[in-house]
Amino acid sequence: MHRAFVVLAAAAILALAAPPAADRFRAAQRRYWVFQPVVKSAVPAGAAWGTNPIDAFAGAKLAEKGIKPSAEADKVTLLRRVYFDLTGLPPEPRDVDAFLADQSATAYESVVDRLLASPGYGERWARHWLDLARYAESDGFRADDIRANAWRYRDYVIRSFNADKPYNRFVEEQIAGDEMWPADLEAKVATAFNRHYPDEYNAQNLRARRQEILNDITDTVGSVFLGLTFECARCHDHKFDPILQADYYRLQAFFSNISADDEFPMLSPEAHAAYQKKLAAWESKTADIRARMSAVVKAARDRQVKSRYTAYVEEVKKSLDKPADERTPMELWMADKAKYFMNPAEETLAAGLKGEAKATYKRLKAELDQFRNLHPGPLPKGTGITELTGEPIPAHVLSVGVYDKPLEKVEPGFLTILDPEPAVIVPPANGKSTGRRTALAKWLTDPANPITARVMVNRIWHYHFGRGIVGSPSDFGMMGERPTHPELLDWLAAEFVQSGWSMKHMHRLIMTSRTYRQSSAHRPDAAEKDPSNRLLWRYERRRLEAESIRDTSLAVSGLLDRELCGPSVRPGAGSHHRRSIYTFLRRNSLYPILEAFDLPDTHLSCGRRSATTTAPQALTYLNSEQGMEWARGFAGRVLEQAGPDRGKQVETAYRLAYSRSPGGKEKDIALSFFAQHESIVAGRAAAGGKLAAPENLPASVSRVEAAALVDFCHALMNSSEFVYVN
């Protein structure tokens, strides 16, 4: 070719090709702090405020502005703060007494240690993580079908926090536990993190459904682990952050092959083998009866399978027509999704039988039940993520995010600004999956990754102080907030990794700091210089979260059932007394008491809850049956401890509700309340009105007196002091 053409062709090729990655980012994006390595800078010297490095960093910032830190909160306030923060429950009066009596230098530290070691810690902190994981126990959409085994993930999170599982391991298990520890059932349960997507199980359009699932996972992984708003890059390059549209699909490509695995046995291989053996014995004994039962529902089965099959688009029909080993990875996925409808459960079909068939089936079922003692019982099952083949489903950039408008093919890869090359994937030896998620998990937890540790220490900080060092904990991007203490954030991130990613180490570090132990009292001098308390010159007062409000009410009323873990409690039949984290979490119908106090919607990951103050909250607490039940329980406890004397009752009630004794004025208010209120209640009783009374009312107390006490206790539970942490 003539030289001139070569030059021209080269220029044309250059013009056609996308500009090199290097040119696709603005200098400000390249320089943006999130993408720079974590630097553990020296702890500022000279700050006279304590020995904890946190105080040195925070104290230096305050000194710059000429603000003095606040004094330490009083002991009771501090104790309540620590209890609520770590366990979501208040201290019992005896805990308060013990703490006040302990004059040793390490009294406070030993409380922190004791609470970190208590199971309540996991129950409290797991709930934070469940917000992030958009955890729910149903599908959402119209059917909102139940996910019967989702609770195992909740227990996994509780146990992980309680065991202080290193955060890197915690992340790896949730992203790729099935690939990295195939023999470990807990690691398999952990993968349910990516199974909590809202889903329409009976959607006809499988490609669209798959894309929606993948989008949900991409957005959630991006925001939870990386603190970045990947979803903005679904249709175009991110307008502000250096996330290319291709980066969205590069991240998504790690999940190309995932498929829900809702029925894996929660048994060790030995136990499972034993189970199968027992089941096989039952099956051989009952083969004949079951064959006859199956014959009764055959017509219904054929009808349903045919109608469902007919409704599918050609592509799905084609996948179903092929033998499994001839299916492409995409066809395998589609056939797997159709499986549920192609093999309808016999009980469902039987439920629709009529007339003679119904009678026959019933008779056979009774016959089958004779063999029940041979059956090993229902198989305990888990829910998580798996892959159907080691051969990946190809991933593409999608034109404006539309599932059936693929553009160029992409390979799994990380943010181009950090690493433009495709990720190095090592498929696992068993050939059952692609190994893609393992590569992502290892990249996320690489100590050199500048983002993962920063995002997590900031989340921990956010939950302790009500506000992160970065105020937008799920958005570290350019539209998010800037860190108020960047050097401290980096120091903490580095410390986190060096501690072996120990969350309990971070809690201890933060909670023993003077910064954390400050009083929440307002100071006009400081507020003038830093009205939003960004520099932490005091502890920020906070309303308890929904679960803590309910759990505290149960605890104070003496009704709380402290049983740990297990299947969720369906609140349908009135109240239950387990901690709120065990309340069945249905996407389309949240538990009203929790919903009223800002339990987040479970369709999206939530990194920062709202704390609203509304009239329906007041109605809920004033008028619900639960509210009254708690008040009766509380009053019963007061009577048991204080007897009929009003003064003693007030003292006891204050100690139970607020961990302190009432002041003189408060006693007066209480006693004058009783004087007036008792006559109102007496009037009601005289008119034949129903009264609230605690159980086991002692003879020394009249029903009217008891009902007035119930109302007093109810008022304490409705008060601000009950739901605010100072």
Binding site: M478, T613, P616, S624, F673, Q676, V710, S720
Partner: protein
């Protein structure tokens, strides 16, 4: 309504003035004045807020015909369908992918009788004879289109702009933008028909906005709001006495913490709750209406009684300052006529015609129509080709909604669908455009109504939304 408290309310000022320990700042705040909230904290999130520009309407009543009413049998006559009856869809129209795969079925003309109505000569079929009498108040938009194909996604999009759940609904955005005009009632109320709304609460969710802005689904039986009644062991005076104690405890706690507006808001929330206990049962008490009014809405006839009651309730609510009322006709996809158009739509139209006409007449007679924007429509329309011989499939490519009152000019038809009513052709109007226009008429610019969420300044219309100026100019 049993057990509703008869609250003997003294004035708010009395109540507050008698109380001790309340700073003047707090008092001004509680009296609805403006106290500056500490940054990052919300004072009363429902306090009335100024609009972006002068509003035309103060409230919205959205009459949601759930399941998809047939535009080509109600507001968009297609004579060409008569000519093409029984023939397949001409190739020039392309092959749409429909929900039920019906695009190969033959075209089915409407069996309706059509007439022009009012001075404007607006076309309405004989399925809506009473609504037709208000032709000159209706602005009919014939060129709507939406993204979803199925009910869940499409109902969700009509409410939230997105076919996927998780975004705030229009009522939530409006309440976020304008606050509540009546602090004693929820600002955003949802009235379902006999069955639950398809897709449920995500359709009136606050999404990522604070939960305060979510819609309240009024319950059909008993008290309209959960936990509205006193417990059965607590009488009216007893409740008041308990509330007085709570107020004292809360004031005690707030002492020296005047800068924390949350605490004041909380003190206030109990008084609001107490007033709501009286206000909400009163608002839903239809027995206060005259027989003539009930008749106007068709409450005296079994076929129209249910939706008539919802429409009348909607009027009572906007009259009391409720910002956004969504009244579903046929919730649970009851307008979904895949078979038996005549039977299904005959029934649904009959049950909604008189109530809607009654609502328009009643609003007008009370001088409320000018300040109340009434929106009628479903999540999509229906196809010109048949399904199962006598039904029609979903059609999100071209369908009709109408607006009335609230500054909508009336007697107008906007946009067209093609000759058979399959697709919007002239002046297509997307769901986002409808949302932008409604907000505009309430005084809000959809581009400026934003909320920072996960690093994005989110707005109700996502990345779309053009005003349909012909509606109001």
């Amino acid at each position: 309504m049993t057990g509703a408290p008869r609250n003997n309310l003294r004035s708010r000022r009395d109540f507050l003035m008698r109380s001790s320990g309340l700073s003047s700042l707090a008092l001004s705040y509680l009296m609805g004045g403006t106290a500056v909230a500490a940054p990052g904290k919300q004072a009363n999130p429902l306090a009335a807020k100024p609009p972006h520009h002068a509003p035309r309407a103060k409230s919205v009543i959205w009459l949601f015909m759930e399941g998809g009413p047939s535009h080509i049998d109600l507001f968009d006559p297609k004579p060409e369908l008569e000519r093409l009856a029984g023939q397949p869809l001409p190739a020039s129209f392309g092959k749409p992918v429909t929900a039920m795969g019906t695009a190969n079925n033959t075209l089915m003309p409407s069996k309706r009788k059509w007439k022009q109505h009012g001075q404007s000569g607006l076309w309405v079929s004989d399925w809506y004879p009473n609504v037709a009498r208000h032709a000159d108040d209706l602005t009919v938009i014939r060129s709507c289109w939406a993204d979803g194909l199925n009910h869940v996604g499409s109902v969700c999009q009509m409410n939230t702009g997105s076919i996927l759940g998780g975004r705030p609904s229009m009522g939530a955005w409006l309440t976020y933008g304008l606050g509540a005009a009546n602090q004693d009632l929820p600002a955003f109320v949802v009235l379902a028909d006999e069955k639950p709304v398809t897709g449920g609460p995500k359709n009136w969710s606050a999404g990522f906005l604070p939960a305060t802005y979510q819609g309240t689904l009024f319950r059909r039986d008993g008290p309209p709001i959960l936990y509205l009644d006193n417990p059965d062991t607590v009488g009216g005076r007893q409740q008041r006495s308990k509330l007085d104690l709570i107020a004292k405890l809360n004031r005690q706690f707030a002492e020296g913490k005047e800068e924390d507006t949350d605490l004041l808001a909380r003190l206030n929330s109990y008084e609001l709750a107490y007033r709501m206990q009286t206000a909400a049962p009163e608002a839903v008490d239809l027995s206060q209406e005259t027989e003539a009014t009930k008749k106007l809405y068709g409450i005296d006839e079994p076929a129209t009684a249910r939706y008539g009651a919802n429409c009348l309730l909607a009027r009572r609510l906007v009259e009391r300052g409720v910002r956004f009322v969504e009244a579903y006709s046929g919730s649970g996809s009851q307008w979904d006529s895949h078979t038996d158009m005549e039977g299904n739509h005959g029934r649904m139209c009959r049950s909604s015609d008189k109530p809607i006409a009654g609502l328009l007449a009643d609003l007008k007679a009370r001088g409320l129509l000018d300040q109340t924007l009434v929106v009628w429509g479903g999540e999509f329309g229906r196809t010109p080709f048949n399904e199962a011989g006598d039904g029609r499939d979903h059609n999100p490519w071209g369908f009709t909604i109408f607006m009335a009152g609230g500054g909508a000019r009336g007697g107008r038809t906007i946009g067209t669908t093609d000759e058979i009513g399959l697709r919007a052709v002239e002046r297509p109007v997307h769901v986002h455009d409808i949302h932008a226009t409604i907000l505009h008429m309430l005084g809000l610019n959809h581009l400026n109504l934003t909320f920072m969420h996960n690093g994005r300044a989110e707005r109700p219309t996502l990345v779309g939304g053009k005003l349909i100026e012909e509606v109001y100019s």
